[in-house]
Symmetry: C2
Amino acid sequence: MTPSELYDRTLRMIQPVSPAWIDKAYQRLDSLTKPRRSLGYLEELAARLVAVLHQAQSKIAGKRVFVFAGDHKVVAEGVSAYPSAVTALMVKNIIGGGAAINVLARRVNAEVEVIDIGMAEDPGKLKGLLRLNVKRGADNIACGAAMSADEAVRSIVVGIGRANQAADSHVTLMATGEMGIGNTTPAAALLSVLLDLPVRDVVGTGTGLDTAGLERKRHIVEQAVTVNRARCTDPLSVLAALGGLEIAGICGLCLGAAARERPVIVDGFISSAGALVAMRLCPAVKDYLFFAHMSAEPGHRKFFEKESLRPIVSLDMRLGEGTGAAIAMQIMEDALAIYNEMATFEQAGITPGA
Amino acid sequence: MTPSELYDRTLRMIQPVSPAWIDKAYQRLDSLTKPRRSLGYLEELAARLVAVLHQAQSKIAGKRVFVFAGDHKVVAEGVSAYPSAVTALMVKNIIGGGAAINVLARRVNAEVEVIDIGMAEDPGKLKGLLRLNVKRGADNIACGAAMSADEAVRSIVVGIGRANQAADSHVTLMATGEMGIGNTTPAAALLSVLLDLPVRDVVGTGTGLDTAGLERKRHIVEQAVTVNRARCTDPLSVLAALGGLEIAGICGLCLGAAARERPVIVDGFISSAGALVAMRLCPAVKDYLFFAHMSAEPGHRKFFEKESLRPIVSLDMRLGEGTGAAIAMQIMEDALAIYNEMATFEQAGITPGA
């Protein structure tokens, strides 16, 4: 199967989650020894998870956080507090187990898979690194398109492939993550175009720009959107024009997991940009996505508002890697444990209240 | 030592947490392989926890959720969707391991301790129930004081005693919880008086009142505040006038833990009322408190605003028992794991950015 065929087939496979399963899940939740719906959003998470997995007694087997690594030539415009070289250094840190995502994934017993999908330099053969590079860094979006349509499809297919491999093994719960110096810039550009929001609403300080840096970044995102405006004719071309390889990979992971009826936890600002492209390519994918956290990036709040979505936590994190997703993973499992393990009113000999 | 002496001694023992320890903790956090402060509130939690435990490499040993059970004769006024008898039934459910708190405590490997501090009926000797009853239900606050000053002190001392016992054993991290049909009514009354807020701002539907029930509850809380106004001369007398035995126990647990330099996770709306009394009795106790979640009760948001506090999660929960605290416990441990386990820039061979 060519990348293009796998891409088309995956999009066709995605079906909305059955409302009947949601109802069935709430029936059980309402039979448990607690005032009706008193666990709030935890019950909604449980109901959606059970419906996605469509099993009466849903269990999470394996968990995996996918860290897609990619670079951005737009960093040359001074949009990041860190140089591009840090992407490779941090990839090595993650492979070595010393990064924030490693700590948080260990806490929740999840695997971390690191994928070179768009790193600027080939780090060579490294234990723990999947070498699936599509392009050595996204091109400078302030001057033109980030990648070709073909490269965008191939990057999406890398994500689809990872989701399929995970679904074929023991992984029930997938989470998105990324590492890519400069990637709040393409993410902001994508959000501006896909949500029809002014650039100033979606650009933030990223990993730590000062005021002058923020102004420069706003200007560059404006320029990127203007330069690429004519190319932005449909969701895929928006991704190719303004995205990044790792953002396309995240988009693909969302699509691939949904096609296989697996829930996906979407990490922060960058991951939301990838997930948004996936939702524009196929609205039904939304049923399979669980948004982990609201990032400190101001554009992220706009994203949640515009899409009527709710993050699981809001801890002012702005690190990426999948760190917010790992924290949300615990809460998703809490929700499922409530569903599976609490006593019913009948078991406890209590007559439920009004 | 008499209860009154232990109470006085505990209040005198509580010392503010050293800002030098907070600074020291941030020094380490800033040396870790992430953009400075990019883990947001997680870093604040880590810094405060390390400062409370004042250990360079802080470890959480045992964890325990304390469920104080008490009844409220004000339930006769129709302020709750459930009858008082449900308190005893739910206490048995918790002892039996089938309640929401059992599920969530198991997930985080925490013990659950259930204390009869103010249940209306003596459930008799039950495996897993601590019988430390001070009074068989708080008196009807719509007609007079909930309890005497002596009973309030003795209830606080029950909480102090449990904190001391826990600190003497292996427990590093304590969490408050409660079970008591009708207890959002005294909690709302306490918040109204101690935060100087109109009753309508702090009264909510509790475990599930309808509109008429909510109106009745507002009226009863108004009446309780009016009837007891003259008694409310200092924090302890406010607690005695408008509180509940389990709320006093929670207040005592906060004080006792702080006196022993142990962090306490404060659960939801009811627990916050107990913690607020503790903060009014001794402002320094605040340094030891970690507020788990913002409840769906509208008065809880007012509490956070007025006291300039921040909940760890906001999941619209309104169950109590310590359920929100158990969820927050995971995130507190995540924060500590980040502090202890991440690689430093030096270890990873990366030069930190601006």
